[in-house]
């Protein structure tokens, strides 16, 4: 869906060739233009196609208080036009050349991307570099686009009970006024009163070459990308972007506890537990990687421990798993979830999940279990390199959230080094972390 919205979900890092002493994941070429814009090139010559992306180190977490939704509204407005390319010419011209495009906004970044025949790269760069600093906004267009985004909010959030629950619960997991506590798309009342001036202020503060990353993947030569990047992006000369606020320094208390949403439109209950854990921003790299392994052993699909215990053996749940996002610019989250079978209450499910955590802690790993997990995780790299977009998305998301190329490329080595004890230590930290919440989505009238 075009001009889409990414939630805080991490773009998980699947990577690398096993059996190499110095394995690398995507092998990008990278350099920085004089004005501070980072350039990353990922050659891939399967098809004469190029993916061109510009990421801004600005997302909804960078919004001024009271202006929630402005990062995402601006993303929509970026398609309106500039003096040189007015009235939606960008999209029209791209489509005439067979190109496809989209954009997305998350808490941590905003990205714009086009896929097009490789010989049209220059055309796309001319268009994208133009709108980095030359956006023109008509007040009537802003008002209409705000209505579009309100409909997007209706579609994604108001019409969807589980999204409404998530929105409520996030306010209890983060301290008051922490930007991760508010939705990327914005609170309805704030969104409804955003103006052209709000959009332009956010644009001026954040859209600048020193705050942007260019990623070009596909059938390209490094030298040609460099020449074009200098010609179109290298000449942009504007004031540096506003420095970003630190998202991990807060020691304020959280509300915590349990958030329940009962709705007549829910037929299948869902339980979840979200626990604050470090990300690559503030975590020891060993701990972060151990948390990824922990998520795989407990919740990575239908052969993982939670699925096996709750769904197959005990027949309490229809589904159960975990996820962990290590890539956030702020702290990350480790999440457990499960959906009960008919007649099973959510607390029984929560206890069964707890028992699996304790079982791992008490009994440890089975013979060969950790190595099997590592092999599986490492195999993901070859698959990731098969998709032209995977490397661009993974590197873009990490760089835009303040992480480094080495954080991505060294992942195989970090993973290989993880020990059973590292994973058990990570589990202990998850269990003892006080900043956690529980959510319960239930049918209307259900007993708690």
């Amino acid at each position: 869906m075009k001009r889409a919205l990414l939630t805080l979900a991490a773009i998980s890092l699947f990577a690398v060739l096993p059996n190499r002493s110095h394995a690398e994941v995507f092998n990008p070429e990278t350099y920085t233009l004089k004005n501070g814009m980072q350039v990353v090139v990922l050659p891939n010559h399967r098809a004469p196609v190029v993916l061109h992306m510009v990421w801004y180190r600005a997302g909804s977490a960078d919004e001024p208080v009271g202006k929630s939704g402005i990062a995402h509204l601006l993303e929509h407005l970026m398609f309106k036009g500039t003096t040189k390319n007015p009235d939606g010419i960008f999209s029209r011209k791209l489509a005439q050349h067979g190109g496809q495009e989209n954009a997305f906004t998350s808490h941590d970044y905003t990205g714009y991307h086009q896929t097009v025949a490789a010989d049209r790269l220059e055309m796309v760069m001319a268009l994208e570099s133009d709108r980095m600093t030359n956006l023109v906004l008509d007040p009537a267009d802003v008002k209409t686009e705000r209505d579009v985004v309100l409909e997007e909010r209706n579609q994604r959030i108001e019409n969807n009970p589980s999204a409404r629950l998530r929105e409520q619960a996030n306010q209890t997991l983060y301290p008051k006024d922490h930007p991760y506590g508010r939705p990327v798309i914005g609170w309805r009342n704030e969104l409804a009163s955003l103006t052209r001036e709000d959009a332009l202020a956010f644009y001026k503060a954040n859209y600048a070459p020193d705050n942007a990353i260019l990623i070009v993947a596909g059938d390209v030569q490094l030298g040609e990308v460099k020449r074009l990047a200098e010609k179109y992006y290298g000449v942009i000369d504007v004031a540096p972007a506003t420095p970003r606020r630190n998202l991990v320094a807060s020691t304020a208390a959280i509300t915590g506890g349990e958030t329940v949403l009962k709705d007549a439109r829910v037929s299948q209950s869902v339980w979840s537990q979200s626990i604050i854990q470090p990300s690559l921003t503030n975590g020891d790299p060993v701990r972060v990687t151990a948390l990824e392994v922990l998520s795989e052993i407990l919740g990575g699909g239908s052969t993982a421990r939670l699925y096996r215990a709750l769904v197959i053996d005990q027949k309490l749940a229809l589904n159960s798993g975990t996820y962990y996002d290590s890539g956030a610019r702020g702290e990350g989250r480790f999440v457990f979830y499960a959906s009960p079978r008919p007649g099973v209450d959510l607390d029984t499910l929560a206890n069964a999940v707890e028992a699996e955590k304790q079982r791992l802690l008490t009994d440890g790993f089975k013979d060969g279990e950790l190595n099997r997990l590592k092999t599986r995780m490492l195999s993901g790299a070859i698959f990731a390199r098969d998709e032209m977009k995977a490397g661009a998305m993974t590197l873009g998301a990490n760089l835009a959230a303040g992480h480094s190329i080495a954080d991505v490329e060294d992942w195989p080595e970090r993973l290989q080094a993880v020990t059973e004890q590292d994973v058990l230590d990570a589990l202990k930290a998850v269990i003892s972390e006080p900043r956690q919440i529980t959510t319960k989505l239930m049918p209307k009238g259900a007993a708690q």
């Binding site: 869906m1 075009k2 891939n44 010559h45 399967r46 098809a47 004469p48 196609v49 993916l51 398609f79 939606g88 999209s91 029209r92 489509a95 005439q96 050349h97 067979g98 190109g99 496809q100 495009e101 896929t115 097009v116 025949a117 008002k143 209409t144 209505d147 579009v148 409909e151 997007e152 209706n154 579609q155 108001e158 019409n159 596909g218 007549a264 439109r265 829910v266 037929s267 299948q268 699909g301 239908s302 052969t303 096996r308 769904v311 197959i312 229809l318 959906s339 079978r341 008919p342 099997r372 092999t375 599986r376 195999s379 993901g380 070859i382 698959f383 098969d386 998709e387 032209m388 977009k389």
Partner: protein, 435 residues
């Protein structure tokens, strides 16, 4: 075709994508279309069998879909967990799916695990166990999803639209069946499904990746040669979409109404298919540039998502569209949909619009060639649709020769604003049911 040793016919090299399609026929006569790609040590395969959920027995709707979700839950000597662990430990991706008209599989493996990967696939195709535990588990998961769908505006709307257009015909049913029809399905039904439908006669295979034709020939024989050569499944009765300009309001307590609309379209093998593709792109297919996008979203801010698409089926065809808009503005949105339908139907279209649609549809085609699995999908679709091996080269020509006159003629043939059946799920103001 049977042959001693393997035969490779190099028929087409698609210059715009720099891919060469080879036809590989294994020693025992299994045919696959192959694109060799040695950049990464992996391979992707897609395959399809004729007949999908439209052939589910009455009262047992959802059989093909249930078979698809349980065939990889234990086979041969391996129970569900053993089978799934083998797949997971070697990062072998294997999924089956059932659509309205076909049953297909996707498969991806690292080169170093290809022997075991093809063995596991063969087991799933020929000796699925359908043990009680996994079948009961997957049934409950599907049933839970079906219950949730009763409150999901999109699912409610599309179910109602297909019911309206297809009445009692099998195409009106959902591929996943119903809670009750799933309860009625027994293990014997699943075994019978595999015995009759997982067969060689209509099998189409596309392979892309790090493999030679000779090696592929060996693996095709091991995996598919043992399947029975059953007769093709009976084709379902032809049906015309019975659109009559109905308006169906399904009341749901939501702030945004989900709107779906449609009437008959044209089939994939219709001589006007490519002209219809251009016409649909102008009307509602072009994601940022279509008329419905411009009028409903860009100019008026009525909706976030709006669009139309051709929906060809084997025994019928549709042209469908959708939009989501706040309850108060549904009737305004519907007026625009009907007006735009009428405008194009009356031949109001410019040469520029047609030129833009044509350059988009030809220029964007190579963008599908950016992963081994998407190319494998193209190879299977070409075979299912009886396209020639040089189709990749010919496609631009089919689109390039389309004229203004063609599009006006096909718009008049296909578009019927007053016949559009419309479903609105929500609490639309000023819109009443007229079923």
């Amino acid at each position: 075709m049977r042959a001693l040793g393997f035969i490779i016919v190099v028929l087409a090299s698609f210059s715009a994508n720099a891919v060469t399609v080879e036809r590989v026929i294994s020693p025992q006569g299994v045919e696959a279309w192959l694109v060799q790609d040695h950049a990464n040590p992996l391979l992707s395969m897609q395959f399809s069998f004729a007949g999908g959920s439209e052939l589910d027995p009455v009262g047992k709707g959802g059989l093909a879909h249930l078979a698809a979700t349980t065939m990889d839950e234990g086979a041969g000597g391996l129970d569900s967990q053993a089978f799934q662990s083998r797949l997971a430990d070697q990062s072998i991706q294997l999924h089956f799916s059932a659509g309205r008209d076909g049953f297909s599989g996707t498969f991806k493996t690292l080169k170093k695990h290809e022997d075991e990967a093809f063995d596991l696939l063969r087991l799933a195709l020929t000796e699925p166990r359908f043990d009680d535990e996994p079948v009961a588990r997957l049934k409950s998961q599907i049933q839970s999803g079906l219950k949730s769908d009763l409150e999901k505006p999109n699912a409610v709307a599309s179910t109602a639209l297909f019911k309206s257009l297809f009445g009692d015909h099998a195409y009106a049913r959902r591929s996943k069946g119903t809670v009750e029809s799933l309860d009625a399905i027994q293990r014997a039904d699943l075994l019978n499904f595999v015995k009759t439908r997982i067969a060689r006669r209509d099998l189409k295979i596309g392979v892309v990746g790090d493999i030679t034709p000779k090696r592929l020939g060996e693996l095709l024989d091991r995996t598919f040669a043992g399947l029975p050569l059953n007769p093709s499944p009976a084709k379902i009765t032809e049906v015309e979409a019975n659109a009559k300009g109905r308006v169906i309001v399904v009341e749901k307590d939501v702030v945004q109404s989900t709107i779906m609309f449609g009437h008959g379209g044209l089939k994939r093998d219709d001589p006007d298919f490519y002209i219809a593709l251009v016409m649909n792109h102008i009307l509602g297919g072009g994601s940022f540039t279509s008329r419905l996008y411009a009028e409903i979203r860009e100019k008026r801010g009525l909706a976030y998502s709006v669009g139309t698409s051709l929906y060809p089926l084997k025994s019928s065809s549709l042209l469908v569209g959708s939009a989501g808009t706040e309850n108060a503005r549904v009737s305004e949105t519907l007026d625009i949909v009907r007006a735009e339908w009428k405008r194009l139907q009356n031949g109001d279209v410019s040469q520029q619009e047609i030129d833009d649609a044509k350059t988009y549809l030809t220029g964007s085609f190579p963008l599908r060639f950016t992963s081994t699995s998407s190319i494998a999908g193209v190879l299977v679709a070409m075979q299912v649709n009886n396209l020639s091996m040089d189709y990749l080269d010919r496609r631009s020509g089919y689109i390039g020769k389309i004229t203004l006159k063609d599009v006006r003629r096909v718009a008049k043939r296909l578009l019927h604003a007053d016949q559009l059946d419309i479903v609105v799920v929500g609490k639309p103001q000023g819109v009443v049911s007229n079923p």
